[in-house]
């Protein structure tokens, strides 16, 4: 590993045996062509469609309308509200999932057999698709046939749980809670793995020094899990950012747009309303945001540095 990744492999001094059996660029072509057509071309098409009027009907091809769709970006209050909803959901999702999955994951990493068994039960929501989770919780939250009907008997009628989906604040709260239920088992698993990798000696040394449990958590466990926390937080942000099916099935963006995040907004105003041009504007905004997230992701997890270690050896 003398050469750095940025200078690339030194191909002048090596040859013969070093080159034998190495794949050429052609090996990557089928995948690259396929990926370019179905994943990269759509990015360009999104930009093109954002300057057109297009209602998704083959007989009426996209018609160029200049900046008409883009000018709505600044004046559409519903869109601005969606951006707010998206950011609120991301903040609340991280604020709830991070502490719960971190604490549960570290707890489950303990040596007791019981904990491993319980950890397997925590895993159950991961067997369900988001659509299945959404339908299950929609039924549980149903005011007449779900848990609220039971709670009405205990807490009296018209308590806070009676109509969770009726008010934007409680509907958002329910969505965040369902995220927590459905997604935190994955992060628990990640933290469990991370905590198991912390060298036992560190805790032994701390015990000798008289550090208590809380002190050990904050001065050993947390710092040692720093990379895990970064990775898992980014996964939470990406997951929340692109959630669509939960909102479509549970609230359809309601009440009065209070739970309409950007992907749902794009579907609702673009696909359902047959306004694919404006939907493409939202798509371009989403792609730009996703790219920012990606840059952070690549930096934080150092995926790009992995390339330097073995490539071209």
């Amino acid at each position: 590993m003398i050469q750095s990744a940025s200078r690339g492999p030194d191909r002048t001094k090596r040859g013969g045996l070093q080159q034998a059996g190495r794949p050429g660029f052609a090996w990557s072509l089928p995948a690259v062509a396929f990926f370019a057509f179905f994943a990269l071309l759509p990015l360009a098409v999104a930009i093109y469609l954002s300057f057109t009027k297009y209602n998704g009907i083959r007989l009426l091809p996209p018609k160029f309308v200049g900046l008409d769709n883009w000018s709505r970006l600044l004046t559409d209050d519903a869109l601005h509200r969606s951006i707010g909803v998206t950011l609120t959901l991301i903040v609340l999702a991280v604020a709830t999932q991070l502490p719960v999955s971190l604490l549960i994951g570290v707890w489950a990493a303990g040596p007791q057999r019981m904990r491993a068994l319980v950890a397997a039960l925590y895993f159950i929501p991961l067997l369900m698709s988001t659509a299945a989770v959404a339908v299950l919780w929609a039924s549980l939250a149903d005011p007449n046939f779900g848990v609220p009907a039971v709670l009405n008997g205990i807490l009296g009628p018209n308590n806070v749980f009676s109509n969770l989906l009726g008010k934007p604040a409680t509907a958002l709260g329910l969505i965040v809670f369902i995220y927590l239920w459905g997604a935190s088992p994955l992060h628990t698993l990640i933290y469990q793995g991370g905590a198991r990798a912390i060298p036992e000696v560190l805790y032994q040394a701390a015990s000798v020094d008289g550090a208590g449990r809380v002190r050990q958590f904050f001065s050993i466990t947390l710092p040692q899990l720093k990379n895990t926390i970064v990775t898992s937080t980014i996964l939470m942000v990406v997951g929340t950012f692109t959630t669509f099916d939960l909102i479509l099935i549970l609230t359809r963006g309601g009440p009065s747009g209070g739970t309409s995040n950007l992907p749902f907004f794009m579907y609702d105003r673009g696909v359902t309303a047959l306004d694919f041009g404006y939907g493409s504007v939202v798509a371009v905004v989403l792609i730009a945001l996703a790219t920012v997230v990606s840059v952070v992701l690549v930096r934080a997890t150092r995926y790009d540095e992995m390339q330097g270690t073995q490539e071209g050896l």
Binding site: P23, A31, F38, V238
Partner: protein, 274 residues
């Protein structure tokens, strides 16, 4: 943590409460799915089990769930096949090729990691419609597979990097071509990574919602996730029927969990936020 023998009661209680929060909805789902509508309406969601009927599963089947599950299976298998054919050669090139262009390809994959399929559903619809694949399962499979390629490539190439240089040199001394090296050395040593991407791709395809929603229209092309959404829309009062339908969509994943637990967990880690 062996040194800390004193039991941690606070953590234990918190873990227990969390376990209840996880399990109660699962219990409600399982119990309701085996109970008639009348019993469920009378006893509510939280009662103890008092009846056993398979009527809800028969009902879900009548609503087309057999067909929906089959469609999901076709989409999952198709996606896995495409990923399996395309990703290993690409990963091999990324890890072993000396070509500068391959470095560009690797960066492209890192960029692709960021684009979730949902975000580009409108332009994907436009493309799929233009090539005449709108309202077909193949039209769902192709973009689903494309968006899996970046992460699958990272997983598989990560495994291929672990293959030692001596093994490659031994192949080279035997005069092996790149094709022989690939099939006799690289593929057999990449089994773990391949198992992971099989499960990862299948889960991704199985859980997909927005792509099939926008790219298909016919009721008999519905995948299971869409079927659940429509079922909830039309029969939200039949909770036992809905729960049975959910259980049916969970069963295939449960089978993977039982038979390929390690690959499933690694596949899930790749999924990230779903």
């Amino acid at each position: 943590m062996h040194t800390r023998t004193r039991p941690n009661w606070i953590a234990g209680i918190f873990a227990g409460i969390w376990l209840l929060i996880i399990l109660v909805p699962v219990y409600v789902m399982l119990r309701a799915s085996f109970e008639s509508r009348a019993t469920y309406a009378q006893k509510g969601p939280l009662a103890l089990p008092s009846e056993f009927t398979l009527g809800n599963f028969a009902y879900a089947f009548d609503q087309g769930f057999g067909k929906f599950l089959l469609n999901s299976g076709i989409v999952a298998i198709g996606t896995v096949l495409i990923v399996l054919v395309l990703v290993p050669p690409l990963s091999f090139a990324i890890v072993r090729s000396r070509s500068r262009s391959v470095g560009v390809v690797f960066r492209l994959m890192l960029f692709g990691l960021a684009i979730p399929a949902q975000v580009v559903v409108i332009p994907v619809f436009y493309l799929i419609d233009r090539i005449g694949l709108y309202d077909s399962l193949l039209g769902v499979i192709l973009p689903t597979a494309a968006f899996i390629i970046p992460l699958a490539t990272l997983i598989v190439s990560g495994g291929m990097r672990e293959i030692s240089n001596e093994l490659y040199e031994a192949m080279a001394i035997d005069g092996a071509t790149s094709v022989q090296t690939f099939f006799r050395l690289v593929l057999p040593l990449s089994k773990g990574g391949l198992a992971t991407i099989i499960v990862f791709s299948a889960l991704n395809a199985w859980n997909g919602y927005l792509l099939p929603l926008v790219l298909t229209r016919s009721a008999d092309l519905r995948v299971a996730t869409l079927g659940l959404g429509v079922f909830k829309q039309e029969f939200s009062l039949n909770i036992p029927g809905l729960m049975a339908a959910i259980v049916m969509t969970v069963l295939p994943i449960l089978l993977i969990y039982i038979f390929a637990r390690r690959a499933l967990i690694r596949g899930l880690m790749g999924v990230g936020g779903k």
